[in-house]
Structures are given as structure tokens and as C-alpha cells.
Symmetry: C2
Subunit: 323 residues, 2 copies
């Protein structure tokens, strides 16, 4: 049994070698660039942890883990184009550093490369693993589209459950699928796979609520993003949607005015409304609610509890960070 | 043994059903849209023909054929964004009709969907088929990047063999891989697969030379594109590259002037230079050269010659069209 840190080092050792040929450089350098600017490799390590919950880590788990990390970075590149994001992990995004076309194509080739890893899976579980991967991959695209759709919708018209569903698709199903793919290589039963999937999915939702919270209320130095970045661009977040539901008519009008006029003190003013209608407290509770669902599923997995410790530690780490 | 037309109908019957869920409509409608605006389905039918060269068509060949057609349409969507193309098959391109973001994401989900088909391949050949698919998929991306790189290069500095290589990657390897994937499901030997692949690759190059020729010299009504579309945008084509090599200094200077100043009579003037330095005749011969290599490989495949008839007809059709 290994810790997250130990598996992270194992993963990185084999993943950090150059993944792509040298030529054509304008295709593969952008792909290698995003892999080189870091990230916590949470998803591939979840895959390894999912395997080790049931059995020793199989070589196939590394193939799956590599595919997952490549897929994740592919989505980052394409999402950053769509979101016109200038920075990723504190560095220029791929389309900013290179071009939109280079970023589209680098993403494409990374997605193909992830399937090259999946096709190396030797064991009897390959079909199942690729099915789980494909379902998650498709759902991530659906989540990104629903996110863009919601950006075009008046915030009051976005239903809370639709928003949770969008977040789950966009960010959580890949965490869930990573765990499940590992569980498959580890020989976990269908029932245990399902619990592990739900554990990951609910951790993901809780994490996103926390992420929204930290964007608004976190320490920008620790968080690595501008404070209130979501507020500045009127991004629909758990906080904004719930604030519009909880606040009184005067507060609602004030929020709308701030979103329309973008005054210099916009972030401070919006945060004041969030405080006044206690959406910060609500977010803490909502995060707790999804966390409890997650831990319940982890509990329900039929393996000795000491095998679950590393996964519990990861979840604790993800859900208690202050930055 | 079936004709191209008969297999085309068989393919279309099962492929023309809606490929995607209804929701989210903004994700799946653009993907369905491009499938609905036609195309000759050459690649998937080549896959079926490749199978039937050796044996009765297997269900796996249809899975592979569907994956190929989805992949091809994915590349069209993304290429059209990069090329800022307004029209495809006489209809608005996906990014024009919807948006760049919708087009990026629709392409992504189509690529994933193609792997869903590949994962349904039941037979023992799946690993090999996916390897062939992945190699071609990656090479198509490389070809697109090399094409964009060459657009940024002075035409005199583009080496002819590099240009042929780019064209082969961008357009021919998928034709070749389609045939090979079919040959695999049909149980063709490695040697026969290789000949079939080379047949497809060389037909593809010959076809592209013809395509460049027709863009310049074809009848625009029959060809379905503006005459001289490539000339108007200074696109590097077989004709332009060779013309710059064959022409005298005065003609070269004239060509450069036309490309820089874009006068109203640009197309006619450039065509006159092409005629004067006989690049039209050269193109016919060069097409013939690649055609002969292709037919040589078809000849070398160790099956009874009557089994090759349908493939020969397709090649004849592709390489003798006047529009």
C-alpha cells in the first residue's frame, strides 16, 4: 500500500519523459508544453489508488493512468481556447503561447495519444476500461457544452440541479472514472467499482464548491489566481447562483447592477452581498453534504478499512485545502 | 463481391441514423449536421472493400468503417476552423453555422465516438486495427500541422518531397489505413495489407495532384468550388510549387507580384503562367506516376484478380473524374 505522494512520484517518473516525437515541433511542442507546466496529477494517481484498493498495482493501471492524464490535459487546452483564458497554472495557455490552431491540433493529438495508451492494456479488462473512459470523455464534453450554454443563460434561469449536473459532468466524472478504471485493473467487483465511482464523483462536486468558495474568499497568494476572478467575469458559480436565490430584492438588484456596470470595487461589493446573504456559510454546508455522500460510498466498499486510508487522505487533502 | 455503389448504400443505411443523443443539442447537433451534409463516404467504403478483397464482410468492418467516417468528419470540422473556411460541401462550415467553440467541441466528441465504435470490435484483430487507426489519426494531425507550417514558408523554400510527404500525411494515410483496417477484418496477410496500404496512399497522392489541377483548370460548375480558389488565397499547391521551379525569372517575378497585389484578374494571370511553364502537363504526368505506383501495389496483392475489380473501379473513378 502506497501513499498518494509515493504513487505520484511513481507516476511522474514514467510520465515525465517526453511523450511525443520531436517533429513536427509545432504540433508536439505545444502538447509537451502543457504537460511540462505541472498540475498535481490527481486523476492518474487516483487510478493507481483505485487499483491498489483491491490488489497490487498492475502495469495496465499505468497505461490507463497515462491515458487519463493526457485526456485531462487535452480538455484543458481546448477549454482554455473556448474560455479565452490567458493563464493556466500561472503560465500562458497553449493558445496564447502558440496559436488557436496549434492548440486545437495539439489537443487532438493528445486525445489520440491517450487512446494509444489504452490500446496497450493487455489484460482481459481492456474493453471495460475503454468503455468507462469513453463514457467519461463524452460526458466531459457534454459538461463543457452545458457550461457554455449556461453562460448564455440569465443566472436566475439556471436551475440548481442542472448546475450541479453540469459541474459533475465537467469536472467530477473524470475523477470518478479514474478511480473506477483503477478498480477494474485491480479486479474490484462491479458493486465496489460503483461505490468507488460515486465516491469520486461526490468528492469532485464538493471540491468544485470549495473551489468556487476559494476563488471568492480564499487568499489569492495561496490560491494562485486573482481573487474574485469568477466575480469579475460574472461567471456562474455555486455562490452566485445561490446568492441570487437567497438574497432579497434590493440585494438582487445591486448584484445585477454590479454585473452590468463592472465598477472598480466590483469584487468587494459582490463579496459583501455574498456575506450578507450568508452564501459563504451555505457553501460550507453544501460542500459538507457532498463530502458526506462521498465518504459514505468509500465506507461501503467491501475491503478492509486500512486499504482505504490513502484514498481517505486524498479526499481529506482535497476537501480541506485553504488555498 | 459488391460494387462501391452497393457497399456505399449498405454503409449509408446503418450510418445515416442519428449517431448522437439529442441532448445537449448545442454539442451534438453540430456533429450531426456535418454528417448530414453528405460526402461520398469513400473512406468507410474503402474499408469494406478492403475486407471483401479477402473474405466476406465481417460486422467488425462496419464498426471500423463508422469510426473512420466519424474521424474524417472530425478532422474536417477542426481543419475548417483552422483554415477559416466558410463553406464545406457547398454548405456553411460548422464553426460558421454554430461557433468556433461549438465546432471544437463537436469535433472532440466525434473523435471520442469513433473510438466507441472501435471498442465494439469483437474479433481478435482489434488491437491491430486500433493501432493502424491511431497511427493514421496521428499522422493526419501531423499533416495538418505541416500544412500550416508550409503556409508560413516562402513557396521557394518548400522542398517538393516535403510537400508530397505533407499531402500524404494529411490526405492519403487515412485512405490507406481505411483499406488496411478492412484487410485486417478480412484476414489478409501482413504482406497483402502492406500492398493495399501503399495502393491507397499512392491513389491519395495522385488524387490530390488532380484536385489541385481541377481547382485551377476544372469546370467550376462541376467541381463545386470557385475556380482558382487556391490561387486567390496563394495556397501552396502542387501546381504553384512546381510552377515556381519550372518558370523563368520574369515569370517568377510576375507570379510573386500577382500573389502580393491580388489584382482582379489574378486567377486568369496565374493560370496563364501555369500554362506558359507547362505545369498543367507536368501535373498530368505526376498524377500518372503516382497512379502507376498505386496500381502496381494492387497488382501485387496475392488474391485472384477478379476480387480486385471493385477497388480498381474506385481508383479509376477517383483518378479520372473531370470535376
Amino acid at each position: 500500500m502506497h501513499s498518494f505522494k509515493a504513487l505520484s512520484a511513481q507516476f511522474e517518473e514514467q510520465f515525465s519523459k517526453r511523450q511525443f516525437p520531436d517533429h513536427p515541433a509545432n504540433l508536439y511542442d505545444p502538447a509537451q508544453y502543457i504537460l511540462g507546466i505541472g498540475g498535481k496529477r490527481i486523476r492518474p494517481v487516483l487510478c493507481l489508488l483505485g487499483n491498489e484498493l483491491f490488489d497490487e498495482i498492475q502495469p495496465d493501471a499505468f497505461h490507463a493512468a497515462n491515458a487519463i492524464e493526457l485526456f485531462h490535459n487535452f480538455t484543458l487546452i481546448h477549454d482554455d481556447i473556448m474560455d479565452k483564458a490567458p493563464l493556466r497554472r500561472g503560465m500562458p495557455t497553449v493558445h496564447t503561447k502558440y496559436s488557436d490552431s496549434a492548440a486545437i491540433l495539439a489537443g487532438d493529438v493528445m486525445l489520440i495519444h491517450s487512446y494509444e495508451y489504452l490500446n496497450r492494456i493487455a489484460g482481459k479488462y481492456r474493453t471495460k476500461i475503454i468503455n468507462v473512459f469513453n463514457k467519461a470523455a463524452r460526458e466531459v464534453c457534454e459538461g463543457q457544452q452545458l457550461d457554455m450554454d449556461m453562460e448564455q443563460t440569465q443566472p436566475e434561469r439556471v436551475k440548481y440541479e442542472d448546475y450541479v449536473n453540469m459541474i459533475a459532468l465537467k469536472t467530477s466524472v473524470l475523477l470518478a472514472a479514474s478511480l473506477q478504471m483503477g478498480a477494474i485493473t485491480g479486479g474490484g467487483s462491479d458493486g465496489n467499482q460503483k461505490h468507488l465511482y460515486e465516491f469520486g464523483k461526490n468528492v469532485g462536486i464538493a471540491f468544485q464548491i470549495q473551489d468556487d468558495y476559494l476563488d471568492a474568499f480564499g487568499d489569492p497568494k495561496k490560491f494562485g489566481k486573482k481573487q474574485g476572478g469568477d466575480i469579475l467575469i460574472n461567471k456562474k458559480t455555486f455562490l452566485l447562483l445561490k446568492a441570487l436565490e437567497l438574497c432579497n430584492p434590493a440585494q438582487r438588484q445591486h448584484l445585477h447592477q454590479l454585473m452590468e456596470t463592472n465598477p472598480d470595487n466590483k469584487v468587494d461589493e459582490v463579496l459583501q452581498v455574498f456575506h450578507d446573504c450568508r452564501v459563504d456559510e451555505w457553501a460550507e454546508k453544501e460542500k459538507e453534504r457532498f463530502s458526506e455522500i462521498a465518504y459514505g460510498h468509500l465506507e461501503a466498499i467491501a475491503v478492509l478499512s486500512h486499504r482505504k486510508e490513502a484514498l481517505k487522505e486524498v479526499a481529506d487533502f482535497l476537501l480541506t485545502r485553504q488555498h
